[in-house]
């Protein structure tokens, strides 16, 4: 396994740390663990990390506050661990700057896939790539054109903005609020219903079978993500 990078795992439950560390190590990450938000913050201040895996229920502070504190000065990708039924918490974490989330309990493969997608998304953004390309979809940011399996599709400006927003963070979930801010503008007061309508419109053009989407995926209650090749 190649060196995957330096990973900070923040969780207060020792059994979670114990069960995750071997797999993360085996996947090539250098794993550091922290059991409190304060420990995580002070570690990050001294040592740059490539990615942070953060449980939202910490003993000393709210996980969301940890995200805010990290985002004050660092763009380190953050993947949040949270229970499936706490949608609002996940949305809040994402809106505060977390990059993605994994529902607890999870299979290790799922966590590793999220970590890889998040790291790749960061690399793409850092590289300032002018296009997004997956097996199904290609988006050229410079020319504002999109192709499905090689054939160009005609998109309205809103549809293009939506696909661009998702393609800028391939594989990563984007919340309704973030989509609205990006497509309608940060001041817009648009109902999530509009996002659903726009997504349905876009799926007609992107998907082979719009009622069983493979490219533009729904994250129930949270938002949408564009399938990266790993999801396929």
């Amino acid at each position: 396994m190649s060196q995957g990078g330096h990973l900070l795992l923040v969780d207060d439950e020792p059994q979670i740390l114990r069960s995750l560390r071997p797999a993360l190590t085996a996947a090539g990450y250098v794993v550091t663990t922290a059991e409190t938000g304060a420990a995580a913050l002070s570690y990050l201040a001294g040592e740059p990390c490539d990615i942070v895996i953060l449980d939202l229920g910490l003993p000393d502070m709210d996980g969301k506050d940890v995200i805010v504190r990290i985002r004050e000065w660092s763009e380190t990708p953050i993947v949040v661990l949270s229970a499936r039924d706490l949608e609002l918490e996940k949305i809040a974490a994402l809106d505060l700057g977390a990059d993605d989330f994994v529902n607890k309990p999870f299979a290790v493969g799922e966590l590793l896939a999220r970590i890889r997608a998040t790291l790749r998304g960061r690399d793409l953004r850092l590289a300032g790539r002018a296009s997004f390309r997956s097996a199904e979809l290609e988006v050229n940011f410079a020319t504002r054109r999109a192709f499905v399996q090689g054939d160009e599709i005609r998109l309205t400006p809103r549809e293009y903005d939506l696909v661009r927003t998702l393609a800028r963070h391939p594989g990563r979930v984007v919340t309704h609020k973030q989509i609205i801010a990006s497509v309608w503008g940060p001041e817009a007061t648009v109902d999530a219903q509009f996002v659903r309508v726009l997504v349905a419109q876009l799926r007609q053009k992107l998907e082979e079978n719009p009622s069983a989407p493979r490219v533009l995926l729904t994250e129930p209650g949270v938002g949408y993500r564009l399938a990266s090749d790993e999801d396929a």
Partner: protein, 492 residues
């Protein structure tokens, strides 16, 4: 009828003061006749002046005018030469004018002072009535005593009878027996909201606050001493004040009810999220460990594999214990816990539990001290182990990694006593009795430390169901907490 009597009374009082004025002038005549020998007639006019002055100050301006006229006449008639004639000379006109102006000035002045005094007396009474009522309303806070107090205040303000209909209850002043007619009028007034319906001397008013019907009040003034508009105003202000206070009391009670519902709601949410956390954490560890083994099984060193398998086993056990707790709690709540009571060896049970906890203790030391041999207790061994496990979980959860947790068992009278002593943060003395309450978590405990505050309440429920007991105490000058479980030695 009553009004007529009052007017008569007032007229009578006015007549009396004129009569008094006549008497004062007669007295002045007597004194003047006596003193005239020595003083000469022109100086005794001073005596009549004094009489006018007295009438003006004491009896008001009307009697003073009468006194000055009478005084002038008698002075002129009896004392001025030629006596017993009624000759007016220019000098006499001056005297009459002086008498008249003294009567006018002094009488007006004194009358104003008197009026002012009686007004300020009324004001003081009004203020006192309102102030006392306001203070009592604020202190009472409950609707019924407030209505009672309003009735009392109303009777005081009206100086008569009072009755208040509030929230379907009739509050009346002292021994008053309201007629059916009055009660019907009150009820009708509450609904219709009419003001000042008079019947048999009673005045009625509906009590409404912010468009809500609260009740109705009726009062019957016994005697009217001050001027009536003032009294009526006082009564209305008092009624408004009482109505507002009662409306506020109702509102705050409604708020309290809403708050109680919200508290229950938030308690339920806290419980749900805590249960969800306690169920999901072991599951997450099991799933992560199992999928790790499946994905990387070949890559891991044998000891890593072993550790992951241990994690799976322990977390499954933890999950099992938690589900057991949930079941017990449900049964305790439903009163459906049926202990399978038998005589069992406590030492053996302790040994089994400690072996189970060996892997869980981390850096903490668990020490078992058996102070007596032959410790057999009467109870349900499975429930006892569950209770003890909860106590140990609690001790492990709240004590730092390096501390000692001592478990001791001894005989005490005809009971077996098992004590678990930790060196953690402990619980303040005042909170000790509360730690067995459901959902109770010490305020000093870390708020984010997970746990629903159910463990110890289950311990209490289990121990009591087995005829035993649980108690908590501090460790004196040492930090930490000691929990003692007690079971009877023989079947009761």
């Amino acid at each position: 009828m009553r009004d007529y009597a009052l007017t008569a009374l007032r007229r009578h009082r006015r007549l009396t003061s004129y009569g008094l004025a006549v008497l004062v002038v007669l007295a002045a005549n007597l004194v003047a006749l006596l003193l005239e020998q020595w003083l000469g007639y022109s100086r005794v006019s001073m005596i009549f002046l004094a009489a006018v002055l007295i009438c003006a100050v004491r009896l008001g301006s009307g009697p003073a005018y009468l006194a000055s006229a009478l005084g002038f006449i008698s002075y002129n008639f009896y004392l001025v030469e030629p006596r017993f004639t009624f000759g007016i000379e220019s000098e006499d006109i001056v005297i009459l004018l002086v008498f008249m102006s003294v009567a006018m000035l002094t009488g007006g002045l004194a009358g104003r002072v008197r009026d002012e005094a009686s007004r300020s007396q009324n004001r003081a009474r009004t203020t006192a009535v309102l102030f006392n009522a306001g203070r009592d309303f604020a202190a009472l806070g409950e609707e019924s005593p407030m209505a009672e107090r309003l009735t009392m205040g109303l009777a005081e303000a009206a100086r008569g009878d009072a009755i208040v209909l509030m929230g379907g209850q009739v509050h009346k002043h002292s021994s008053l027996e309201p007629t059916d007619e009055l009660l019907t009028a009150l009820a009708a007034c509450e609904v219709a909201g009419a003001h000042d319906l008079a019947a048999d001397g009673w005045r009625i008013r509906a009590l409404w606050a912010e468009g809500r019907r609260l009740g109705a009040a009726a009062w019957r003034p016994a005697a009217s001493e001050g001027d009536e508009p003032d009294q009526t105003r006082l009564i209305h202000v008092l009624l408004d004040m009482g109505t507002t206070a009662i409306a506020r009391a109702r509102l705050s009670r409604a708020w309290a009810e809403i708050e109680a519902v919200e508290r229950t709601e938030s308690l339920r949410n806290a419980l749900l999220s805590s249960i969800s956390h306690d169920l999901r954490t072991p599951l997450a560890a099991i799933l992560a460990a199992a999928t790790s083994l499946r994905t990387f099984g070949g890559v891991f060193e044998p000891d890593v594999q072993e550790d992951l398998l241990d994690t799976i086993t322990e977390e499954a056990e933890r999950l099992n214990a938690f589900v057991g707790n949930l079941l017990s709690m449900t049964r305790l709540e439903a009163d459906a816990l049926a202990p399978q009571t038998s005589v069992f060896d406590v030492a053996e049970g302790l040994d089994r539990i400690l072996r189970r906890y060996e892997r869980r203790q981390g850096g903490r030391r668990l020490e078992l001290r058996l102070r007596d041999s032959q410790l057999s207790a009467c109870g349900d061994p499975i429930l006892f182990e569950q209770a003890l496990a909860n106590v140990l979980d609690n001790a492990l959860r709240f004590s730092p990694e390096t501390d000692l947790i001592e478990i001791s068992a001894s005989r005490m009278g005809n009971h077996v006593l098992v004590e678990v002593r930790d060196e953690g943060a402990g619980v303040p003395e005042a909170e000790l009795p509360r730690i067995f309450e459901k959902f109770y978590r010490s305020a000093t405990a870390n708020q984010n430390l997970q746990g629903a505050g159910l463990g110890l309440s289950i311990v209490k429920g289990l121990m009591e169901a087995m005829g035993g007991a649980v108690a908590a105490r501090g460790n004196g000058s040492q930090p930490g907490l000691t929990l003692s479980l007690r079971l009877p030695m023989d079947a009761p």
